[in-house]
């Protein structure tokens, strides 16, 4: 799949991938490290360190990377649940206006909040146990002054139906539901204000495999139906491969590779991406094999290595990698990489199969 080609959408996928909805430019978020009685600042955690990407409306863009690489921090900055240290985040509103989320204050953010919502990872902590589903789903409507009680009830019932729950559940409390059902409630709440961009931080990681499939299907269906844009944060690469149009790979606060899903999975251009691919356990016992496994530990974001942050673990590192930081550049149309040797290296990704059914269960 090359960059200028329209994304192949499966049957029933009626999405139109449109213009840019969000531009993130040189986003940085540093957390101070404080020590001692007087809490003096002794250093910084470079949680997000110069991240630049663009999200197109209607697409699913995934953010992947090892634990602690800054995925959650990036998504929280975009939602302005925290204030970034520097950088720009231009959000294109429904009415065509563009607002820089990084600089907006509380009152400027208020109208934009309706257009961006979030789906959480933990289906238990994301619903207030003291509230009924009606109160939970109706809250965004209530605080934005939309509709009277009756109308909110109707809308909440409609949303419940949309996510596959019975409207009668409105008077129930979250404790009566399983993890998957709660996740549906969380999705219904996110949809209440008709947002355009939904940030989903590991929305299926806490769920059982079979429930995971139900939620992924639901997310894709809602996207087709409402033209939603997803910023999807995950570390399960099979899930990411399944749902995303484009994927951004993060390592120690930086984007190291950004490309369309198939290009990234089958033809990675960054050694880190390649080793991630090698680490995916394939659900196929006949594809076991000796893999080049990534050695060592993730770099400390408070004291990243010199030059390329990946060089201590990189099997292809050269002298230049220790001295100079590579820049994030477009190596092929739509394929961005941060590596000195991106153009010369031939890396392996996930093998492409002609026969996709070979791995799924054959009927006996």
């Amino acid at each position: 799949m090359s960059a200028n080609q329209q994304i192949t959408t499966p049957p029933g996928d009626t999405r139109v991938i449109g213009d840019t909805i969000l531009e993130v430019n040189s986003l940085k978020k540093f957390f101070p490290i404080k020590k001692g009685f007087l809490r003096r600042e002794v250093g910084q955690v470079r949680a997000v360190d110069d991240v630049t990407f663009r999200v197109r409306s209607g697409e699913t863009l995934s953010l992947v990377g090892e634990s602690g690489c800054g995925k959650t921090t990036t998504s929280r900055c975009i939602l302005r649940a925290m204030k970034p240290s520097s950088g720009e985040m231009l959000f294109h509103q429904k009415d065509g206006r563009v607002i820089d989320l990084a600089k907006a204050n509380r009152s400027q953010l208020r109208p934009v909040r309706r257009e961006m919502q979030m789906i959480f990872q933990d289906p238990f902590s994301s619903l207030n146990p003291r509230m009924t589903l009606l109160d939970i789903i109706g809250e965004p409507l209530l605080v934005n002054g939309i509709g009277n009680r009756r109308e909110r009830e109707d809308r909440a019932a409609e949303l419940l139906k949309l996510v596959g729950l019975r409207p009668e559940f409105l008077s129930r409390f979250p404790h009566a539901f399983s993890g998957g059902q709660r996740q549906r409630v969380g999705i219904a709440r996110a949809l209440a204000l008709n947002p355009r961009l939904i940030v989903a931080d590991e929305p299926v990681s806490a769920l059982d495999v079979s429930v995971q499939a139900q939620i992924l299907n639901l997310l894709m269906r809602l996207q087709n139906e409402f033209g939603l844009t997803y910023l999807f944060v995950a570390h399960d690469l099979s899930v990411v491969k399944h749902i995303s149009d484009r994927v951004a790979v993060m390592y120690v606060g930086q984007l190291v590779e950004f490309a369309e899903t198939d290009a990234l999975f089958h033809h990675p251009k960054h050694p880190y991406t390649s080793s991630l691919m090698a680490a995916i356990p394939a659900p196929d016992p006949r594809k076991r094999g000796i893999r080049a496994r990534l050695k060592g530990e993730v770099a400390n974001p408070a004291a990243p290595p010199s030059g390329c942050y990946f060089h201590p673990r990189c099997p292809h590192a050269k002298d230049i990698c220790k001295q100079e930081s590579p820049i994030f550049e477009e190596v092929e149309p739509g394929h961005f990489v941060r590596c000195h040797r991106a153009r010369e290296l031939k890396l392996t990704g996930v093998p492409e199969l002609d026969n996709s059914g070979a791995v799924s269960a054959s009927d006996s």
């Binding site: 495999v209 749902i243 680490a279």
Partner: protein, 358 residues
Amino acid sequence: MSTEEAPLLSVKDLQTHFFTDEGLVRAVDGVTFDIHRGKTLGVVGESGCGKSVTARSLMRIIDRPGKIVGGSIMLRKPRNDGSNQIDEIEIGELTDDGREIRSIRGESIGLVFQEPMTSFSPVHTIGNQIIEAIQLHRPLDDRAARNRATELLTMVGVSRPEERLDELPFQMSGGLRQRAMIAMALACEPDLLIADEPTTALDVTTQSQILELLQDLQEENGMAVMLITHNLGVIAEMADDVVVMYLGQVAEKGTVDEIFYAPKHPYTKALLQSIPNIYQPSRVELPTISGSIPHPYNRPAGCPFHPRCPEFMPGTCDVHVPETLVSPTGQHVRCFLYTEGAVRIDREEATAGKDASQ
């Protein structure tokens, strides 16, 4: 499954129930499997199907209202005196917390707990906890035990092991803590390592390091591994034999090849299809298993899977409980779809299988 040698551990018709105030929970309800030396048995199933309770039953560490109410757990343990004698120990019949079971824990069977965060005491250093585990079974003095602990950490791939020994659990990352947990379980070179979701909380890269570690250890010591997970990718990568559990019962059991290429039970099939697969085209709708696991207090009558089963046969599946059938290759399946076939093909083995598991 074809190994000639008698299995290291044979579990037959194990039943572990919880007698709670609200009712009876049949967490494990007739589970049968064998674990062979040097092999890996994978156990898969949805959350709450009884994987952890099975593992804990093998070590006799079930939480309070729980009790083993039936079945047998036979451990075959070579004598220590150098003779080729093998002791057969019925774990199910040992007295609670007696000397025998305590010597089996750690020495014959090591357990890596599901929650690496809560399995270490937060107030003692990793080193002290590993040393304690060593000294429990080996008559080593502090210095020797500490050396052994360093050795273990090196073995599980922890860099700077000497320094790490003096760290507190919360100072370590999830991956390191998981390695330390494995090191502790390996302290006395157990014959069987039970790893309960050893990688669920970890990154793919760390996960693959841990899995590789387990494979290496197994090659070196001929240790048997019981690997509990709900990640089918991990099973495909690691297991020799696979047990698929549903609501406390074994729905299907076979070699990893049989389970992935010739699954018989509708639950196994559905489970395999519902996972997103990196080889599949993106964005297709995934087949799902409808509904969710029933509440543990009200199990469905008949086949426990029948309310969700796509092949459900009214009048049979919701009335009768299917028996375990064994194919000529040794694949076990508990489903009415195969009742006639299996009996006709191999009546003897089928009945033998039934004896074993009913």
